[in-house]
Amino acid sequence: MIEDAFQELGANRSALLGTIILATFLFVALFAPYIAPHDPTDQSLKNRLSPMSSEYPLGTDHLGRCILSRLIYGARISLPIGVIIAGTAFVIGVIIGTISGYFGGIIDQILMRLVDLLLAFPGLILALAIIASFGPGLSNAIMALVATGWTSYARMVRGSVLSVKEKEFVDGVRALGAGDFYIVMHHIIPNVVSPVIPMAMMGMGYAILAIAGLSFLGLGVQPPAPEWGTMLNDGRIYMKSAPQLMMLPGMAIMLTVLSFNLVGDALRDAFDPKKKDKIASAMDVKR
């Protein structure tokens, strides 16, 4: 009993922590122009690599740009990118997985062999290959990560669709005269998305990490945009004289990814049918 309570508390605590961090980053991203003390791309060459001061709370980088402002504006780049990549991959994955599972047959065969093929490459390696042929840059990097990211959602959704479509209520709705499109939209999809939502949440964290990594390699967001991975790469030359240049952007990436993972973990536990009873009883208590 006590151990269970402990476990719940621990899980809730980390979910709370994740939500707080995420909310903070969201707030910072939304109100960046009001919070940031400087323009993130304003150079001040006489103030290069200056230490912390009241003018520059976290110092300046090698071009005299305010580090704090760049970190703040960085949230404005990373968060939307993460949402766009994971969101698009999620939608494509759900559509393809549903089509594949619902209609079966040759369509299913073709789509699933395509998934097998894409999963034969480590994801980031294939993304790198796509960037290599289309050229570096943000939009190509986003495209590459979407192109390699949708497969896991599709597989998972397909599996759920296969079991849901055999359920009696689907037969019932069909007997009432519902068409395929109606059944899929109103009865299949609502029943299969919940397990993939936590996946999408963690997918956002992964996408932010991947974009930062690609930008770090010079293949994603291009300078002078204040993107965290780009900043990290700029800063690594000065690691001895000004370690904060690489420490701070890395910290920002880690905290963002961590918050998405924690929230995703909590959502997965919440959607886990094995834990349903526990949550239901907890809700009873609240009522």
Partner: protein, 311 residues
């Protein structure tokens, strides 16, 4: 068993064929005329005649399916084409083989680091669930999965090489050169593995044969190491294939940071210099290794776990 292995082996041929088609088509996804782009890269001014001649020289004047078959034929004979940039004219395959050992060493040593961390920590937190140690381990794994490998590598470099001066900043050669790179990759990997070891150990410890072993009066130590661990490691082994892919991805960053002449660094360098044949070769090679590793893991899994039956 043999039948399963044969079946599994037969299944990878269509996959490898698809992999080769996808890798081949990458070269032709480039917006614009590949022959002209390659021509420009050699620093020549593209006149229509010269481009045409170059196209014929590269065998690019044939229709695409014929080009693919020619390329595949070459591939099956160990010819992956030649580099068109930094290492101009060198065969791609030999460039890859030159660098693969560095990546392999990195992957194996990272795996060792990961197991050294994740086995003790995973077991420890599984036998004391919900204890302080358990929470610390779980918190550690949360951070471990979120930490960017390219950042961790730089931090380790800053501390151990720049400040303490214990290890070389970068390069390739002795044991000291591989410690930081494999620690970088191994720690990230350990975060995932520790969670797996913990949850699968928890699952096993709930089984009835563990209760029997306890009732028999065996010591907790024997129960854990002799009875529980072996079974707990099976789920860990099943994701080894995925983790290997993760290692190959991570190697890209680690090799760039530590300037290790591996296949990941070769890939990034050739992307920067738009050396498409080398990119193509690296991607194909990595996918090939990844597919084969997964095949071996699947087969050995069936071999070692008598409960698994594939028909």
């Amino acid at each position: 068993m043999l039948k399963y292995a044969a079946k599994r082996l037969a299944l990878i041929f269509p996959i490898l064929l698809g992999v080769s088609m996808l890798s081949f088509s990458l070269m032709h996804l480039i917006p614009g005329d590949p022959a002209e782009i390659l021509f420009r890269q050699r620093g020549a001014i593209p006149t229509p005649e010269a481009v045409e001649e170059f196209r014929t020289e590269l065998g690019m004047s044939e229709p695409l399916p014929i080009q693919y078959l020619n390329w595949l034929y070459g591939l099956l004979h160990g010819d992956m084409g030649r580099s068109i940039s930094v290492n101009y004219g060198k065969p791609v395959l030999s460039e890859i083989m030159l660098r693969f050992p560095a990546t392999l060493k990195l992957a194996v040593s990272s795996l060792l680091v990961s197991l050294l961390i994740s086995l003790p920590l995973g077991i420890l937190s599984a036998i004391r669930p919900n204890s302080l140690v358990d929470y610390l381990v779980l918190a550690g794994t949360s951070f471990g999965t979120a930490i960017p490998s390219f950042w961790l590598g730089l931090i380790l470099m800053l501390y151990f090489s720049v400040h303490l001066g214990w290890l070389p900043v970068f390069g390739y050669g002795g044991i000291d050169h591989i410690i930081l790179p494999s620690a970088t990759l191994g720690v990230g990997m350990a975060a995932l593995t520790t969670r797996l070891v913990r949850s699968s150990m928890l699952e096993v410890l709930r089984q009835e044969y563990i209760t029997t072993a306890r009732a028999k009066g065996l010591s907790e130590r024997t129960i854990i190491t002799k009875h529980a661990l072996k079974n707990a490691l099976i789920p860990v082994a099943t994701v080894a294939g995925l983790q290997f892919g993760w290692l190959l991805e991570g190697a890209v960053f680690v090799e760039v940071i530590f300037n290790r002449p591996g296949i990941g660094k070769l890939l990034v360098d050739s992307i920067s210099s738009r050396d498409i044949p080398v990119v193509q070769g690296c991607v194909l090679f990595i996918a090939f290794v990844f597919v084969l590793t997964n095949l071996l893991i699947d087969i050995s899994y069936a071999l070692f776990d008598p409960r698994v039956r594939y028909d």
